[in-house]
């Protein structure tokens, strides 16, 4: 589908609270048309979070794939509090980011353990350079952001792989689960290089080689090429997967930190991913021009 102009939450003149009243239809692709990054209520009126996430209900015992992996295949919605807006706890409102909880469980204060100069850089990005926000430019998300990004994803497990097919920007992440070594550190990519292996009932994915051009969220929490992420993905039953990731980057953090959340199976049995074409007709940067200022920078980023 051609992207409808996603109303960008970072438009200073529109309050996040107003956008929270959007009611996206889960998985239909229509949520993007109706308000993109707006929050929503699930059918029935219950508030599940900043966007639709299915409730976790007890499921059946896990099956196995033909090659013996615990079977996680299907459509999943991430439950990570308000991490899509800001990955760390953010008790005070920022332009476009309502106060809320993030997904950090270690350290206990729920905040990224930045070194002082890195904290200053994140604040500068959030308050002065938000037009650099990667999603507004249709950049593919890095790791672990891809695991809790809006709209959820499909997991497919062909022999030897786990694939995450994200509805956002219609992309994939293919993780070999044969424990193969990383590619050369000379090659940096948005998605980095992921290599996985099953340790009992837990899929452990080690990701390096990220290019330092992605953020964890829409709030300036940036990455560098030194980032190293270890994800631990543990399916509990047919309806629930527990997810955690340890993020390490000695160049900007004082210690490694950890996020945790859940994936809930999407209740629609006939679910199909829709095509969220992002580059094709992207209007987000136009919203920055109107709402946030800094036109000189944005002109350079806009296409004719």
């Amino acid at each position: 589908m051609k992207k409808r102009s996603a109303v960008n939450l970072l438009v200073a003149s529109v309050t996040a609270a107003a956008l929270m009243t959007f009611a996206p239809i889960p998985g239909s692709g229509q949520d993007k048309q109706k308000g993109g990054k707006g929050g929503g209520r699930a059918p029935g009126g219950e508030q599940y979070g900043p966007y639709y996430a299915a409730p976790v209900t007890p499921g059946e015992p896990l099956g196995k794939t033909p090659d013996g992996q615990p079977d996680m295949q299907g459509f999943w919605t991430p439950r990570f509090n308000q991490a899509i807006f800001e990955v760390q706890d953010h008790p005070t409102a920022q332009p476009g980011v309502a106060p809320g909880k993030g997904a950090i469980v270690d350290p206990a204060d729920g905040r990224i353990p930045y070194k002082p100069e890195a904290a200053a850089k994140a604040k500068q990005l959030m308050t002065k350079q938000i037009y650099l926000e990667p999603e507004a430019h249709c950049y593919v998300s890095g790791v672990p952001h891809a695991a809790y990004q809006q709209f959820g994803y499909q997991i497919v497990q062909p022999t030897g792989y786990v694939l995450f097919l994200t509805e956002y920007a219609h992309t994939y992440r293919a993780v070999p689960v044969d424990g193969r070594p990383h590619i050369s550190s000379n090659i940096k990519m948005f998605r980095g290089d992921s290599t996985g292996k099953w340790e009992g009932g837990t899929l452990v994915i080690d990701t390096t080689n990220q290019n330092g051009k992605t953020w964890f969220d829409m709030a300036g929490n940036f990455t560098t090429q030194a980032i190293h992420v270890v994800e631990r993905i543990t399916p509990v039953d047919s309806n629930q997967i527990n997810y955690e990731a340890v993020v390490d980057d000695a160049s900007i953090y004082t210690q490694p930190w950890k996020i945790a959340g859940q994936l809930a199976r999407h209740p629609d049995k006939n679910m199909e991913l829709m095509e969220f074409a992002c580059v094709e007709g992207n209007q987000d940067l136009v919203h920055y021009t109107e709402g946030v200022g800094g036109k000189a920078q944005e002109k350079g980023a806009l296409r004719p």
């Binding site: 589908m1 051609k2 692709g29 295949q73 430019h137 249709c138 950049y139 593919v140 497919v156 497990q157 062909p158 022999t159 792989y161 694939l163 097919l165 920007a169 219609h170 992309t171 994939y172 293919a174 070999p176 193969r180 070594p181 590619i183 090659i187 990519m189 948005f190 998605r191 051009k213 199909e272 991913l273 829709m274 095509e275 074409a277 580059v279 094709e280 002109k299 350079g300 980023a301 296409r303």
Partner: protein, 237 residues
Amino acid sequence: MRYLLAVILLVPVAAQTKTPDLQGIWQAMNTAHVNLEDHIAVLDMPAGRSVIVDPPNGKIPYTAAAAQKQKENFKNRAKADPLNQCYIPGVPRVMYLPFPIQIVQTPKYVLMASEFAHTLRTIYMNGTQHPDVSLFWIGDSRGHWEGQTLVVDVGNHLPDTWFDRSGNFHSDALHIVERITRTEPDILTYQATLEDPQVFTRPWTIRMLLYRHKEPNFKLLEYECNVYLEDSEKESK
């Protein structure tokens, strides 16, 4: 003897009923991405022979108006080629871009992931039909097995994609039937028949080979086209 005969007769049947395995990382080794038809070289566009096997003259059977439009497209290709704007390539173009494609299979799906801009094709193998209304850059693919061949019906095309860098094009009436067969262990024969009564006077068919990448631990890297485009526009300011 009777037992042996049964084995001889049954073995080929059993071999045929096993779902073919198309999994692996594949890539075309031709210049169809430049031009599906016979073409001589111009700057940055190597020469190549037509991949069109029907009609026999190797040319796309355009209507007169469409042939004119293709000439204009060719002239304006630097700006008009949707791929130069980094848009999703569409089918069949994604299949023969100069980028590797990884194919994976489950009983419900055949997935094709291109290195170009993380483009993904989901081919539904569960007997479902195309959706009623939506048009997609990558179309909508529903497949089934006919013996050793994966047959894919591709509908719901947005009219905004091209077939190659030379401006060969279609409308939203495009309908494609692909036939993909692993004709040798490391070769896929890719065939697609295209019809679009708004643009072509008759259906036509392309055929080419896709070769398996056999380098150890070969994997897709990434080509984030829109990022490089944005960077180059900034540099040229």
